[in-house]
Subunit: 361 residues, 2 copies
Amino acid sequence: MTQQAAIALGVELRVLAESAGDSAARVISDVRVGDYRDLADLRDFAKGCDAVTFDHEHVPTEHVAALAADGVAVHPGAGALVHAQDKAVMRERLTAIGVPCPAWRRIATAADVEAFGEENGWPFVLKAVRGGYDGRGVWVCRSAQDAAEVLASGVPLMAEAFVSFERELAVLVARSPHGQGVSYPVVETVQQDGICVEVLAPAPGLDPERAAVAQGIALKIATELGVTGLLAVEMFETSSGLVVNELAMRPHNSGHWTIDGARTSQFEQHLRAVLDLPLGSPALAAPVVVMANLLGGDDPDIFSRYEHVMAHDPGVKVHFYGKEVRPGRKIGHVTALGTDLDEVRARARHAAAYLADGVYT
Amino acid sequence: MTQQAAIALGVELRVLAESAGDSAARVISDVRVGDYRDLADLRDFAKGCDAVTFDHEHVPTEHVAALAADGVAVHPGAGALVHAQDKAVMRERLTAIGVPCPAWRRIATAADVEAFGEENGWPFVLKAVRGGYDGRGVWVCRSAQDAAEVLASGVPLMAEAFVSFERELAVLVARSPHGQGVSYPVVETVQQDGICVEVLAPAPGLDPERAAVAQGIALKIATELGVTGLLAVEMFETSSGLVVNELAMRPHNSGHWTIDGARTSQFEQHLRAVLDLPLGSPALAAPVVVMANLLGGDDPDIFSRYEHVMAHDPGVKVHFYGKEVRPGRKIGHVTALGTDLDEVRARARHAAAYLADGVYT
């Protein structure tokens, strides 16, 4: 999807891929096959690039710092990126700058677990400090016994109090090395089993003052952490206000709606930001935009269903990621635009559900 | 630009390029270097493709027919494509199916020239039957002497009476092998020195009945000629009605506004049509869309001006074609969207003019 934006901007991409068959490698001419965990591969790759960025957070922080020390323009830099890689570092920093977070602490021993439970109540959540994604690396901890199993694995952990929330929101902002920042409208993300299934833009019925607070929090984090490129801030909306859940520093699933639904797609915005170009308008392209994730179903042969979806709703936009269908895997998304939330949401939902399973919802 | 659409649709493109440095070849992984005038190259290229199509009209008609005879799904087919290649064949056919055309005839001799001038008045236009483009292959003929020079070149010619028109319109339609057809809104194309400089969508102040007639003409041509893929029909609007000027059977400059300004871009629509998939919605994404062509100016280093344009108007969309800057060459386009024609047009015009020359208009 970044390639789509790069073509229009006149930017030539080079991709570091794990194999030549990776979905990004199949649509970009300049492909280097290598390991993003290997500094030598990263250095070879970066030679001649005007800027280097990421589409995931797993490049080791120290390698990002080493590239910057070599003189490579890496965005986001290691000092910012670590907050999207290490949840404890993120919580420490957000707490220090006064951003509302759930109660939390680092956990090393059974005594830490007991203390956290006494202070904040049971159950609570144990999280792997690094490497969690889409519900992986997260354990609900109902008792000392639950915690013991996770502790035994030796993974660095932290505890977070359960947040009793009304819904989940996300704010996508971009910040350039110059310091220019823009915020997209606040969206609602709808989760099922820890996976985002729908994004509603703008977040329906959100109080405009609260929306401004949410955008302010995201821009403050971007500025204080020195983020360059995109920053997605996932938040809980509770009866008493907003609490920050997670950070991502790259084009993010909660921003896929922008491809068809905003004047500037998040992919174009990310390229503009990491190249230190003036940022684009984040304005909505329609009053209501709904993105539904396309999760693989049991039948991998989706072509006939794809034809049905196109014929049924000529206005819906389907985006495939060039990935093989596996049950539950995000293989694409669907965007619908319009004026009436219920109607637009039903269209997006139907298209995604029918593509996955052939089931009409 | 077709690659941008292909990525989302999950369609893998292969391109036949004249060299590996061609702009399309630089953004597509599967590049075959060859000559589109060479049947052997075309046959090698087509092996394994589900469908073959064109981004220009210069592949020899007989080679297109030969590929089809080999069993390749070529869209548009030779029987349709010839009407976009040979202006005399096009005029014969349009006249036969009752589509309004300027007075015309094939010209082989000075006597033909005299006869046409007597019947339709001087001056008139001489056109090369094949190969004209952006004002090339067109000669204003004021006298028998003018014609003599052109006749002496030996190029097959036709004459067309001058049409006294109020403005130029264009209608873009798509038709699939199944026979499904859709029409985009009628647009006005603004020409300078025979080159399109601006496209206004929808055509301002166009009578809705006349718009429907224009769309009907374009869909009728697509059906009668058996066009598969896109068909752009350029028309003159005169005081007494519409007259068809030219046909193109591919994504066309008059449809570049659809990338940002319509629910389905012409590039996506062309892919859907040639793959016989259900067609997408041609609805406008805003009440007013203006596309301004970006013509190369005297200074090839446009980067600093590009930054200015991005900063000046974060909502304008600039598209570069990966071509070297040469004075007068189409190197990209700019699209602006909004509600007020004068304001939107001024934004698009400023961006294109400033990018070209650094001159504020």
